[in-house]
């Protein structure tokens, strides 16, 4: 570094963190969601009949897997301040394509690859129009939501393809040994690790946050804003299509209306997990906890004999409460930070102010 500002050694050092580690790690939105998840699980194990039964965990995970999968790229998309509402339609499109191709005699892996390819193309179209053309993602993906769903239904009509080789449909619900955990969770864990690495441990991921917090500054700092957004929409399309393949094999049915409305379940879970709809904030482990929280809650309420409508009301109230709590917290921290004086007063800062800096 030849352009060091002075020959003198560093004149000032800083602690890396203002708060002790336990506070940084424990007093977070993510921790709150995880705690709530654990509380709901414990309560259900004790009070809800059959929640501790052998099949509960299996079905809970099988049902939640598509949302878990799609929530991964969705988290990154929302952190950049964008949104992808077309994910469930891509699930449907991929499902239909898988069905049509298998019916035409393709092998399942080949057909699945083609279906995922369709997701890449669909996501690529979203990404191109948002990142390079500059269309607002909210409006655009409402459009492609209809477009991709229309293609899906158009390809297959109102009929369904239900003939899939047992080998593959069995695999979709197979468990890991005697554990009751579906094998598909292995796929999820691999993808979750990959997305966690991408978001939290790469320069690309830092760029994702920078874009969400201040897109203009990110651009000025050399973050490839357009390419980043484009790639995220491609990831979103690809993972949604993968979820579509899983969804089809799990239920053994390819239909145009598969997974209708799932985009809202995904977005709700992502927001519950602590991602800000305005972008720039959120962590992947919080999102995973958010998805599981909704899954466990629905499962427990169903076992408890609560009707679906009441379940929806409870989950809806939980989401509203989470949004309200965020606003209340922001308001409260605003109150406290306003009382804290910042900066030094200029009147008593003569020339050569450097020597009188507060040491830490």
């Amino acid at each position: 570094m030849s352009t060091a500002t002075t020959d003198a050694p560093t004149r000032r050092t800083y602690p890396e963190y203002a708060q002790p580690a336990w506070r940084r790690l424990l007093v977070t939105r993510e921790t709150a969601v995880i705690a709530l998840l654990v509380a709901v699980i414990v309560y259900s194990l004790v009070r809800v009949p059959n929640f501790d039964g052998p099949l509960t965990l299996t079905y809970l995970l099988l049902d939640t897997t598509p949302i878990l999968l799609i929530a991964l790229p969705m988290t990154l998309v929302i952190i950049t301040g964008e949104i992808d509402l077309s994910v469930a339609s891509i699930v449907g499109l991929s499902s239909v394509l898988l069905g049509v191709l298998v019916e035409a005699g393709w092998s399942v892996p080949m057909a699945a690859a083609a279906a995922i390819g369709s997701g890449v193309v669909a996501g690529g179209l979203n990404g191109f129009l948002v990142a390079y053309v500059g269309l607002p993602s909210l409006a655009l993906t409402i459009g492609t939501l209809a477009l991709y769903r229309g293609l899906a239904v158009g390809l297959l009509g109102t009929k369904a393809v239900t003939e899939f080789p047992d080998r593959w449909t069995d695999l979709a619900t197979a468990k890991i040994g005697e554990t009751g955990i579906p094998q598909v969770m292995l796929l999820f864990v691999v993808l979750a690790l990959a997305f966690a690495w991408l978001l939290h441990f790469t320069s690309f991921g830092r760029g994702v946050y920078d874009i969400g917090l201040n897109e203009e500054a990110a651009h000025f700092t050399g973050v490839a804003v357009e390419r980043t957004k484009f790639l995220l929409f491609v990831f979103s399309g690809a993972v949604s299509a993968l979820a579509g393949v899983y969804f089809t094999l799990r239920f053994g049915t390819a239909r145009g209306d598969n997974a209708s409305g799932m985009e809202l379940a995904v977005i709700a879970a992502v927001l519950l997990g602590g991602v800000s709809i305005f972008g720039g904030r959120g962590k992947l482990h919080g999102v995973i906890a958010g998805v599981l929280l909704i899954g466990v809650l629905s499962s427990a309420l169903r076992l408890d004999g609560v009707t679906v409508n009441v379940t929806n009301i409870i989950i809806g109230l939980l989401l509203v409460a989470s949004v309200v709590s965020t606003s209340v917290l922001a308001w409260a921290s605003g109150l406290t930070s306003r009382r804290t004086p910042t900066g030094s007063s200029p009147q008593n800062a003569p020339l050569g102010v450097e020597s009188q800096g507060r040491s830490t």
Partner: protein, 503 residues
């Protein structure tokens, strides 16, 4: 009704500061009714702040303000309007989808029986106003699509319909063509003859001399002098505007000037800048001077690649830099510290460490993994070298003072080990102590062989720091001055239209 017995507006020693920055030290002006009073001064002399105080946008901290002999204290623009003050800004803000008439009567529409809006009365009155101003605009047409000049006329018509006693025009001619300027002047003269007081702010001396009766000069937030236009000339006004010793304020240590680092050839962008060619050498600070809006920042942004240009080329250390690609510019060795540090310079909601390591983080990745710890370790020494004042590296930049934020931005770019540093308004909104630190730092960096292109609206800063001054006037380089030639008068002449007269 032309009365000149009592001044329309009197300001005495009006003071206004924003946090640590004093924008107006002692604003003083006395505007007579039935006259047009010019207010001139460099960028940052405090003209706009003074206008905003009279308009009720800001409240003064101290000093006297009298309107027609009565002490006034405006807490809002509505109060100042109600007292008969109208301000016409460079870019009027009309409601584009409403008609011209609706814009003029916004919020005070005449009513008929049953509280319905009396449109015919509105149109008739608007037509009468336009007739009086001698302009032909259809009162029913929407404001959308009107030229800036016509929009200003609408604002003036609005002011007259409110029976404004005092009209302030803040650089009204900046976006107007010659014919439009003439029409505006005719309107202004007729308003003067009706006995209203007018304040006219402009950087164009020819206009000041053609239109105004009196001229008041401001400098560094202070009143300097008032002269009758008939008794003064361009030379006196320019020297009043800039007259101060600058050399001891900003110490630039002499540096050995090396090979060219940045070479810009024939850069063009229609309507923004034209045929811009210059070079910056190693160890040299080149100042880019000119008035606000002359195109200085736009040139810098195009060179760095955040904006496009239509033709021309940029070379860094002999290698062509592709256009509209900040990443390529960074790789080539450019660093760019933009004008608006909160919006463009840093991610204020992110931590100091994230910001400082923001450009170099790609290189901090080890085995495909970038950790917070690696960023902290890389950022700490740079923050320390610049003496950023923060409690911890994970503190958000949002709570920091302007000076400290600027240090974070500078640290971020120095960490990239650049060959060329472009710095736009290095000390805007920074308290005086940090300002001196930044100047010393720039001087040191040049001494170590960094090429620096510095844009500044503060003339003393340019003159004190730069080895060479390029002056931009309306998108063109109008002069290149060596350190010895760069007197305040020469720079001001080249930056304004007065330049043509002197050459």
């Amino acid at each position: 009704m032309a009365t000149t017995s009592q001044p329309r507006l009197v300001l005495r020693d009006v003071r206004k500061s924003f946090g640590p920055v004093v924008a107006l030290r002692s604003g003083t002006i006395e505007v007579a009714g039935g006259s047009i009073h010019a207010l001139v001064g460099e960028n940052g002399a405090g003209k706009s702040t003074l206008v905003k105080i009279v308009a009720g946008v800001h409240r003064r901290d101290a000093g006297e303000m009298l309107l027609d002999g009565e002490a006034v204290d405006f807490g809002s623009t509505a109060e100042s309007k109600a007292s008969g003050v109208a301000v016409i800004y460079q870019e009027p803000t009309l409601f584009p989808d409403l008609s011209v008439t609706e814009n003029i009567f916004m919020g005070r529409q005449p009513l008929t029986s049953g509280r319905r809006i009396d449109r015919s009365a509105m149109y008739a009155e608007t037509q009468a106003l336009f007739d009086r101003l001698g302009v032909s605009i259809d009162p029913r047409r929407p404001a959308l699509g009107l030229s800036i000049a016509d929009q200003q006329i609408i604002e003036i018509a609005k002011a007259i319909s409110l029976d404004a006693r005092l009209l302030i025009m803040d650089e009204p001619t900046a976006a107007l063509s010659g014919v439009e300027v003439e029409r505006l002047f005719a309107v202004a003269r007729s308003l003067r003859d009706e006995g209203r007081g007018l304040v006219f702010i402009s950087h164009r001396f020819d206009e000041v001399f053609a239109l105004c009766d009196m001229v008041t000069v401001m400098r560094d937030g202070e009143y300097v002098a008032t002269r009758p236009v008939a008794d003064t000339g361009v030379d006196e006004i320019v020297s009043l505007m800039v007259g101060r010793e600058v050399s001891d304020l900003f110490p630039k240590t002499p540096a050995t000037v090396g090979a060219p680092v940045l070479e810009v050839e024939g850069l063009n962008r229609t309507g923004v800048f034209h045929d811009v060619s210059f070079e910056v050498r190693a160890g040299e600070i080149v100042g880019l001077a000119g008035l606000v809006g002359a195109g200085r920042s736009e040139i810098a942004r195009a060179v760095f690649g955040v904006d496009r240009y239509e033709s021309g080329s940029v070379r860094l250390a002999g290698k062509a830099v592709p256009q509209h690609n900040p990443r390529a510019a960074i790789r080539a060795g450019m660093a760019f510290i933009p004008e608006d540090r909160r919006k463009q310079g840093l991610v204020t909601e992110a931590s100091v460490a994230r910001n400082v390591a923001g450009v170099i983080r790609r290189g901090l990745t080890r085995g495909g993994v970038l950790t917070q710890r690696a960023e902290n370790r890389a950022a700490g020494p740079w923050a320390g070298k610049l003496e950023v004042k923060t409690n911890a590296l994970d503190a958000n930049a949002v709570t920091m003072s302007g000076g400290n934020q600027q240090k974070v931005v500078i640290a971020k770019w120095l960490a990239t080990d650049p060959k060329l540093l472009i710095i736009d308004e290095p000390t805007r909104g920074i308290d005086v102590g940090t300002k001196a630190e930044v100047h010393r730092l720039l001087s040191e960096l040049a001494g170590q062989g960094l090429a620096i292109l510095m844009i500044s609206s503060e003339l003393p800063e340019v003159l004190g720091m730069a080895d060479r001054v390029l002056v931009v006037c309306e998108g063109r380089l109008s002069a290149e001055l060596s350190r010895d030639e760069a007197t305040p008068e020469n720079v001001m002449r080249a930056a304004t239209h007065a330049g043509e007269a002197v050459r």
